[in-house]
């Protein structure tokens, strides 16, 4: 068969291919990615989109957990103060009920309990970042207010809703406990208990002081029971955060396997394609200098 007398076409194609391979390798080395556009590996890119979205969600769930933890910790420490105050009220009630005191002493104890009651009101109306913590979902206004008709009576004006916040795909936690489940539970109402203690102390009747002291103690127990919710939820959030950080790590690892360049391979490819390009160029220049018959026909 007759030999193709024109090499240039072939040479150009070969140089083109070697150049292309070198460009690819250089791009992989400089971006650190094997996949730089959807056409490089459509399936990997499509998977990357899904993983990016998952990673963003995980970040957001982590941020949600963080801010919830702050809120819940604030509520929890508020309830610690509530517990302390109620314990003080109980011991004041015990003191007042033992019958050793004269009315003036009882009055000053009643005075102190009254102070506890107003502190209690301010604690029950604790807000965090402008949101009332114990108002159910009616977080825009103070949940505990003095009854307009009977100023000594404290009314709950929040609702009994709990807010669910997502902390994972298909996983959510209750982010609050309404005041109705803490301070104003039926038969264990903090404010009613304190008010009855004040009234009993002022009346000086030992048995009603004792009854009122039992009522305050009941409300203390009720608050303590409710408080378990906060500790439990914070624990759940902490566990969830460590799960999320593991999840994030898994996602990142998977993303790396999807699109990251294997640096060693890319570097080897770069060298190999450069060698190929050099060889082709050298061959092309050789062909260029190749003698032909005309050189000998003088």
């Amino acid at each position: 068969m007759r030999v193709n007398p024109n090499y240039s076409n072939d040479m150009a194609t070969l140089m083109d291919q070697a150049q292309q391979a070198e460009n690819n390798a250089a791009q992989q080395l400089s971006t650190g990615r094997r996949v730089n556009q959807p056409s490089d590996d459509p399936a990997a890119e499509a998977a990357m989109i899904g993983e990016n979205s998952r990673a963003a969600s995980v970040d957001q769930y982590t941020a949600n957990s963080d801010s919830l933890t702050n809120v819940l910790n604030t509520a929890n420490s508020t309830l610690n103060s509530v517990t302390n105050l109620l314990q003080r009220a109980v011991s004041l009630g015990v003191e007042g009920a033992n019958g050793d005191m004269n009315q003036s002493d009882l009055n000053s104890i009643a005075q102190e309990v009254s102070g506890i009651q107003s502190q209690m009101l301010s604690l029950a109306n604790t807000s965090y970042a402008g949101q009332y913590l114990f108002a159910g979902t009616a977080t825009g206004s103070a949940p505990y207010v003095a009854d307009p008709a009977t100023p000594s009576q404290i009314d709950y004006v929040g609702n009994s809703q709990q807010m669910k916040v997502q902390i994972g795909t298909g996983l959510s936690v209750a982010a609050n406990l309404p005041g109705s489940s803490i301070f104003s539970q039926p038969n264990a109402n903090v404010f009613e208990g304190l008010q009855s203690l004040i009234t009993a102390l002022q009346s000086g009747d030992s048995s009603s002081i004792a009854t009122a002291e039992v009522a305050v103690n009941n409300s203390l127990n009720a608050v303590n029971t409710a408080q378990v919710f906060y500790g439990g939820t914070v624990n759940e959030l902490t566990n969830n955060e460590s799960f999320l950080s593991q999840e994030k790590l898994n996602i990142t690892t998977y993303q790396n396997t999807l699109v990251s360049a294997d640096v060693a391979t890319a570097a080897t490819n770069a060298t190999a394609s450069e060698t190929a390009l050099n060889a082709t160029v050298a061959a092309a220049s050789q062909v260029d200098q190749q003698v032909n018959l005309l050189d000998y026909l003088k």
């Binding site: 076409n9 399936a43 963003a56 699109v259 026909l297």
Partner: protein, 462 residues
């Protein structure tokens, strides 16, 4: 017989050698001319002279062009394929950027941010600043849809402009092919050589194959060109000129004479532009519209089921896409945010308090529901990315594959039709020698004739 016939034979030989050298120089001169196939002179013994047929000269029978028309044809077919795929690849490459996972402000990433801003708001539904950031994120989703739709429609317009340009280029070539056909016809009817015109025709056909595919039939009045399904493009010396006419969607269709041939062109750069414009991007554009429409509708449905920060019933978050009823066409390019204040976001269930996030949770659940193109929003976007990526990568591998075939075919073509300087130089030597030999014979005959004439002369001088 005799000196005179020797002289005649030598003169014939001189002429034949000259013609052969002409062919050789033509070959050398055209070694790089596109469409040129090397030629060779075909010599034959001339009719013998005299009764004993002792002296027989040489005649130039013909000058043959070494064209392999089957090879030319398959090169043209492959060139068409090659151009189809490279056109598709480069046109779509401009579009794939906005579907990349690293593209900032892509539909996918802006939707992630939108859902994240809802997540954030769900922890503190009453927060004014978080409500505002949801609106901002929603506006980003809308503008991501708009800019993506605009990238797609720009690429479509560019393809359309290329269609117009290619139509006019193809038109010029068809006219030239018809003219060449006429020349070949004339030459053949006069019994003249049409080698040069054939070379031109071959070059024109290969240029046309870069633009579009066609079928050729050899008929009595020269080459007939038709589209793949038989609509005539060139018949003899008549070219059916290609024109553009706007179709219903505002794009240019291609007509040959009065026939719409748009859908029959499926190769060459024109075929590529048409495929990009009428198939790839047209599909992509309607998928985007569906996507935007269904996403907006789903969000609006949840939004209108809840109550906003002021206790009012929620109103649509996204402007109902500016579309004719029931159709999503144009949704992606016209989607926008309808709310003016973050307080209008219906975070609460209907009638719920300001701190209620029930409705937000419903909206967040959309992220994992098959609300768009039968898939979750993220997967719907990933599917678009996969679609365009694989279209380009398929075109690219076709370019490589046809490129390899084409190189192989061109090598073959060159080995048959290509001019080799070595070969031509050695031919030149041969013809030079035979010219010199013929000249030598003539001078010998001259001497002999001189001797003959001198025979009767006294003192001939030697």
């Amino acid at each position: 017989m005799g000196l005179t016939s020797d002289l005649n034979v030598s003169v014939q030989s001189l002429l034949a050698s000259t013609t052969a050298m002409d062919v050789t120089t033509t070959n050398m001169a055209n070694m790089n001319t596109p469409g040129y196939a090397r030629r060779r002179v075909v010599l034959e013994e001339s009719a013998p002279n005299g009764p004993d047929q002792s002296s027989t000269g040489v005649d130039v029978k013909t000058i043959q062009s070494l064209r392999d028309s089957v090879l030319d044809l398959s090169i043209n077919t492959n060139t068409s394929q090659q151009n189809l795929n490279s056109t598709v690849s480069s046109a779509l490459s401009a579009v794939q950027v906005v579907f990349s996972d690293t593209a900032s402000g892509s539909i996918g990433s802006s939707m992630d941010s939108f859902f994240n801003s809802l997540q954030q708001l769900s922890t503190t539904p009453a927060s004014g600043s978080l409500r505002s950031s949801v609106l901002t994120a929603a506006a980003n989703v809308a503008s991501a849809f708009q800019s993506t739709a605009s990238v797609v429609s720009q690429a479509q317009q560019q393809a359309d402009q290329s269609v117009v340009q290619s139509t006019s280029d193809a038109n010029t070539l068809l006219q030239q092919i018809a003219a060449t056909n006429a020349q070949i016809n004339t030459a053949q009817s006069l019994g003249e050589s049409s080698n040069s015109t054939q070379d031109q025709l071959s070059s024109l056909l290969s240029q046309l194959s870069a633009i579009m595919d066609y079928k050729t039939v050899n008929s009595s009045d020269g080459l007939t060109l038709t589209t793949a399904n038989g609509v005539p493009l060139v018949v003899g010396s008549k070219a059916y000129s290609l024109t553009n006419q706007l179709n219903a969607s505002g794009n240019n269709d291609v007509y040959a004479g009065a026939t719409d041939i748009t859908s029959t062109i499926d190769s060459g750069s024109l075929g590529g532009d048409l495929q990009v414009r009428d198939q790839s991007l047209s599909t992509l554009s309607s998928q985007l519209d569906q996507f935007a429409f269904q996403f907006a509708t789903a969000v609006n449905n949840v939004q209108t089921a809840g109550s906003d920060a002021n206790g009012n019933a929620g109103t649509a978050l996204f402007n109902p896409p500016n579309t004719t009823s029931g159709s999503a066409t144009g949704a992606a390019s016209s989607i926008s945010v309808a709310l003016s204040s973050g307080s209008q976001i219906a975070a609460a269930a209907s009638g719920g308090a300001v701190g209620d996030n029930t409705n937000l949770n419903n909206m967040l659940n959309l992220q994992n529901q098959a609300i768009t193109n039968g898939d979750t929003p993220t997967n719907a976007f990933a599917n678009l990315t996969f679609g365009i990526g694989s279209a380009i990568s398929e075109a690219n591998s076709n370019v490589t594959a046809t490129g390899n075939i084409l190189t192989q075919l061109q090598n073959q073509q060159s080995s048959v039709e290509g001019v080799s300087l070595d070969e031509e130089s050695s031919n030149l030597l041969l013809y030079e020698r035979s010219y010199q030999a013929a000249a030598k014979v003539i001078s010998t005959v001259d001497t002999l004739m001189g001797n003959l004439l001198d025979m009767g002369v006294t003192n001939p001088g030697y």
